[in-house]
Amino acid sequence: MSESKIERLISEDGIRCDGRRLDEIRPIKFQLGVLKNTDGSAYVEWGRTKILVGVMGPRESHPKHLALSDKARVEAYYRMASFSVEEWKSPAPSRREVELSKVIREALEPAIFVEFFPRTSIDIFIEVLQADGSTRCASISAASLALVDAGIPMRDLVASIAVGKVEGKLVLDVQDKEDKAGESDMPMAYMPSKNAVTLLQMDGQITHDEFLQSIELLKKGCIEVYKKQKEAIESHFKSAVSNGEEA
């Protein structure tokens, strides 16, 4: 505890330890269609956080008794590679990974037209290769691109980002160091064109005023991520737009 208190995470003039302003997001690079054996895939480098997502489906539900008669069954599997964090992590899913898998699924499912595919399964496999904070946000944002790549009909892309409180100040896009030393972490997932919040969590301590400011900051951050998602789609499929002959 005492060590982290000595190192200041925010300078006098409001610059964070990695040189960002308080409301500045890290460099984010999305890439679609990176795997051959999935129906859709995406890779993201979000600062030093690196995540690979593969989507399988819609496909026949296995085992069959798990199939839902009115919609597709969506499952997310959030897993951290054993070497993705400072200390070796057991590859067996922890309680944290079980909970994150659930909230990530619940963040993505409202976007998917699940009612189009009764009795099928859509499986979203998330492999965190390196974790440096905001892995659930990066996972959700990349997974929605993998779903696009799989050609699964959706209402909107889901963009996600976190706001934290560090040394009494609200900061956008929390990295690991800030998360560990910070006073709070509040991730949100959002479909901008639907004005729909699909994930919202918070731990730590914030005042009601800080909460209101956080929501505004989160919306702004999600829209920035959304733009980057759109750019990634554009660049992946751009060959298709180049004055194609009509089929």
């Binding site: 129906d39 859709g40 489906g57 819609p58 496909r59 026949e60 008669s69 976007a111 037209f113 189009f116 595919f117 009764p118 009795r119 099928t120 696009v148 790549d149 799989a150 050609g151 699964i152 009909p153 959706m154 209402r155 909107d156 892309l157 479909m191 901008p192 064109s193 639907k194 759109k230 789609i233 554009e234 499929f237 751009k238 060959s239 298709a240 737009v241 180049s242 004055n243 194609g244 002959e245 009509e246 089929a247």
Partner: protein, 228 residues
């Protein structure tokens, strides 16, 4: 009444396409008087219908589609067919054989075994039950010869071409029989295996260059060079 896209503009899920009195076509949904894309693809408007030509996705059966299925299971009086869709096709014996099949006396697999392929049409499908197929019409039935290749189903319209231009050219240039099924399978029956391989290669080329101009001419050139 306003649209917010250029013809054939690349759009993705959530892209606002139009506002006002339109009809939602394929891969477009309406919400509160606004029209949005639900799929990555090229936006299009025809006769007031807004749709998105998909660039990715899986095959969803439509009644009337010609499909090529692979038998994955024989049940007493029907076969289950993989049709490259989330839903397996069902081919009842009565839709395949000209005489009734008595499951007490003979096995369905005598006529059609696991692994064999069938050309069929989709009779009915509503997503609550598996699509039912028929193979009794002319030109349908078990595949006995030739080659079957899998292609990206979103490229099927391109392989067929505008008013069948591409497929007509392929057949004319090679003299082979070619059937492009809606579910992204192509049956090729040529004079020789080599011939079939060349045609398959040409189809791969169409798939890869689907959205470029002058493709029909380039494919013709490719065939001429290869068959020299």
């Amino acid at each position: 009444m306003t649209t917010f896209f250029e013809p054939r503009q690349l759009v993705s899920p959530g892209t606002l396409l139009a506002e006002g009195n339109y009809q939602p076509g394929f891969n477009v949904y309406r919400d509160d008087g606004k029209y949005y894309a639900s799929m990555v693809g090229l936006a299009d408007i025809r006769n007031n219908v807004i749709s998105v030509i998909p660039l990715r996705g899986c095959y969803i059966p439509q009644p009337g589609d010609v499909v090529i299925g692979k038998v994955v299971e024989c049940i007493s009086t029907a076969w289950m067919l993989d049709i490259r869709s989330p839903y397996q096709g069902v081919l009842f014996a009565s839709e395949f054989l000209s005489k009734p099949l008595n499951p007490l006396k003979e096995e369905a697999r005598r006529y059609l075994d696991v692994g064999e392929m069938v050309v069929a049409t989709v009779m009915a499908f509503d997503r609550t039950r598996n699509p039912s197929l028929t193979a009794r019409d002319h030109g349908l039935g078990k595949i006995h010869r030739g080659t079957v290749i899998d292609v990206d189903f979103t490229r099927v319209p391109r392989i067929i071409g505008k008013k069948g231009s591409m497929i007509t050219m392929l057949k004319k240039e090679t003299g082979a029989q070619i059937l492009v099924a809606q579910n992204g399978r192509v049956w090729i029956s040529g004079k020789s295996r080599d011939e079939e391989a060349v045609i398959a290669e040409a189809i791969r080329k169409i798939e890869a260059e689907a959205h470029t101009t002058g493709l029909t001419d380039r494919v013709r050139e490719f065939l001429v060079n290869k068959r020299r």
